[in-house]
């Protein structure tokens, strides 16, 4: 036991002092925040200058009121209007084709940002917005909203009614998503918050496993390369060596997690954001530890027969694919967390921790699911460690060519 601790202490101290660890510790939260926050920031970014929008209106009745609405409703920070709408051609005599060609030329010369083509009679029809940039969702939504209003108003007038009646007719609705807890109580959780916390936990688990898995493999390969491994396994048993490494690197993982949690707590106190509640957090920690140990066994089994960094990187990238799968499933899982296939995937040991990290913030899984997955994980860790130990014992003394899978399976079988 004292030798296991000696190995654990060594692995922990040497890694915790290394620059790679320090950089990973500090940079990872920045990357996560960046990936989570920056895109939304950019999307909701306001325009910096007024946009000039042309209108081709064969009916001749819509362009005027539409331009007025667009120009008056939206202003930039510098109090200039956000949109300047100019009628390109309007009236019944309009040759739409000619007008479109003319408008295309203007867009090409950057005289206008884009133009709207309305239907011939100004009634329900497809409206087109043509521009060099079509990723701007805000402008599309605003054009739609204001055109609808103008058309509705004109229709009300044509029916001989008072336009102000429209105010009373329009129903304003805003559907809010409210998450219910297990007991059916209301929880203050918006879509963004749930998505963000599921995403953050998944990424944290993923990065934690990958970085420490790589460290584990690298430390074994270094010891093989410099043959210190021979001194080590004549000093203690391979099992002790492996246990010490897993323990030391787990300590490292916990240090990382603790540090990140502190940042998280500080951030949520600062911004008044409550990402997750305590019972969820504790359960997640359980899955973190289980997942960590399970993948440690896999990394040892995969890494100990290897001899070069390149081979190690290859193996690591395969494992990364396995780990990243639940991230791809994040959106469908959020839409329907009760789906059978989501539940089934949760029971595959390779996916259990990440699937749970995904599911817990969205919708707490049933108690039996939690108990069963924990039991499955415990058995998987036990089996994984036994197999990894058998591979490790032989693998760490192998030099030269890496063994074939068939050979490794024989090591596991023969124990």
């Amino acid at each position: 036991m004292s030798k296991i601790l000696a190995v654990a202490r060594w692995e922990y101290m040497e890694k915790v002092k290394s620059k790679i660890f320090l950089i990973g510790l500090l940079v990872t939260p920045l990357i996560m925040v960046g990936m989570g926050v920056l895109p939304t920031l950019f999307v909701s970014q306001q325009d910096e200058r007024s946009k000039i929008i042309g209108v081709i209106d064969p009916s001749g009745r819509v362009a005027g009121p539409f331009a007025e609405r667009m120009q008056n409703r939206y202003t930039l920070k510098n109090h200039q209007p956000n949109y300047v709408v100019i009628p390109l051609s309007s009236g019944t005599g309009t040759d739409v084709e000619e007008a479109v060609q003319d408008a295309n030329a203007r867009v090409a010369h950057d005289q206008i940002d884009g133009y709207v083509v309305l239907g011939p009679d100004g009634r329900d029809s497809i409206v087109e917005y043509r521009s060099k940039v079509i990723g701007d969702f805000a402008i599309a939504a605003r054009i739609e909203e204001n055109l609808k209003a103008v058309l509705a108003e004109q229709r009300v007038v044509s029916l001989g009614l008072d336009p102000s009646i429209l105010q009373q007719l329009v129903v304003k609705l805003d559907v809010r998503m409210t998450k219910l807890s297990q007991k059916g109580e209301k929880e203050e959780a918006g879509f963004e918050r749930v998505f963000l916390s599921a995403y953050v936990f998944l990424m944290m688990l993923f990065l934690l496993i990958v970085t420490s898995g790589q460290m584990l493999v690298r430390s074994v390969i270094e010891e093989k390369a410099n043959r210190i491994v021979e001194v080590l396994v004549s000093s203690c048993s391979p099992t002790e060596l492996m246990a010490g490494k897993v323990l030391g690197l787990s300590g490292l993982g916990l240090t990382q997690m603790g540090f990140w949690s502190l940042i998280g707590v500080a951030a949520s106190l600062q911004f008044g954001m409550n990402l997750i509640d305590l019972s969820q957090a504790l359960l997640l920690v359980v899955y973190f530890i289980l997942g960590y140990l399970f993948y440690a066994a896999i990394f040892i089994a995969a890494g100990s027969p290897l001899n070069t960094e390149q081979e190690a990187q290859q193996i690591t990238s395969y494992l990364v694919l396995l780990l990243i799968l639940p991230i791809v499933l994040a959106l469908p899982a959020m839409k329907d967390p009760g789906a059978t296939w989501i539940k089934v995937l949760t029971f595959i040991p390779f996916l259990t921790p990440t699937m749970m990290a995904l599911r817990i913030p969205i919708q707490m899984p049933a108690l039996w699911e939690i108990l069963l997955t924990v039991v499955i994980m415990l058995f998987s860790i036990w089996g994984g460690m036994v197999a990894a130990g058998r591979i490790f014992r032989i693998g760490i003394l192998m030099t030269g060519k890496s063994p074939k899978i068939k050979e490794i399976l024989r090591w596991i079988k023969n124990g």
Binding site: S2, K3, A6, V7, W10, M13, E14, S18, E222, A225, N226, R227, I228, E230, V231, L232, V233, S234, S235, C236, L397, M398, T399, G400
Partner: protein, 307 residues
């Protein structure tokens, strides 16, 4: 006292060690010699229990291998290396702690050893800041720091300059004085000849010669003619009545056939070379080695210790 009895180890197709036996009493130095791929390193790994022997036994002071045995072993592997980015003192503390030594004791011992080997001011330096020779010193310290009763050194002198070879030799003799059982493997026959109390020559997994250095030499008798000369030594290869010639620039060692007298040989070479010194004595270990196994690299070309 370390006792090796009928050790055998077979890798898939190759029999690496085939029934090797020897004893190493405390307070003695044992030389394990043999060509590349002979099975020296595999034998050492079995003594250290890095490899399980297929059959045969190793006893340590009369007892089997236990946890306590591990702490009584010191080992310097043939291929050298240390943790590149780690500090010397940390590395040594780790290695000693793994052999069951308390950290405080290990710290004072490591400091003492580093000072003795001229690295007293390098405790906090990283391994990759040291020269190869100094790294080897640190590894050597790692093997003896915890005061083991059995010290196993695989090619301890390779890569060392003559000054450091001498330092290591003195330390080996000192460890012997302290009553430790020391095993070292080597290619350098002159080292083995001067340092070992007894030795074992392994070839193709078998112990082909063993015993004290004096016994081994006696077995070959006094039929080795050592000469010093001026002139073209090439003609010595054409001399008849000789079964082995070791030729150097101005020196040669000729192993005479039975019934051949030194006079017959001298009669052949005297007209063609200026002889400066002629002596009949026991063959050198080097000569015995070559007579026994052929050319030094004639053994299995396969690298030792690979499965």
């Amino acid at each position: 006292m370390l006792s090796v009895q009928q050790l055998k180890k077979q890798f898939t197709t190759l029999i690496a060690v085939d029934g090797v036996s020897f004893d190493v009493p405390g307070g003695s130095i044992f030389g394990l010699i043999g060509p590349n791929g002979a099975g020296k390193t595999t034998t050492i790994r079995m003594i250290l229990r890095i490899l399980e022997p297929d059959s045969g036994t190793v006893t340590y002071d009369g007892a089997g291998f236990t946890e306590a045995t591990r702490n009584n072993l010191g080992y310097l592997p043939e291929e050298r290396g240390l943790y590149k980015k780690s500090r010397l003192i940390d590395t040594l503390l780790y290695l000693a702690e793994l052999r069951g030594m308390a950290r405080a004791k290990a710290r004072s011992e490591a400091t003492r050893w580093l000072q003795r080997l001229g690295l007293g001011d390098s405790l906090q330096r990283r391994t990759d800041e040291l020269s190869k020779g100094n790294q080897q010193k640190v590894q050597f310290i790692g093997a003896v720091l915890h005061n083991p009763g059995i010290v196993i050194l695989d090619e301890p002198f390779s890569g060392l300059d003559p000054v450091n070879q001498n330092v290591f030799k003195d330390i080996l003799l000192e460890l012997k004085q302290q009553g430790k059982a020391i095993i070292f493997s080597t290619h350098q026959m002159d080292q083995a000849e001067r340092l070992s109390d007894s030795l074992c020559l392994i070839n193709k997994g078998r112990a082909v010669l063993s015993g004290t250095v004096r016994d081994v030499k006696k077995r070959y008798g006094k039929n080795s003619l050592h000469i010093e000369f001026d002139g073209d030594g090439g003609i010595l290869n054409t001399v008849t009545g000789v079964h082995n010639v070791l030729l150097y620039e101005h020196e040669a060692e000729l192993e005479l056939d039975a019934q051949v007298t030194p006079r017959d040989i001298i009669a052949q070479i005297n007209p063609r070379l200026d002889l400066r010194k002629v002596e009949l004595r026991e063959p050198s270990l080097h000569s015995i080695f070559i007579q026994t196994v052929g050319a030094p690299d004639a053994g299995s070309a396969e690298k030792e210790g690979q499965a």
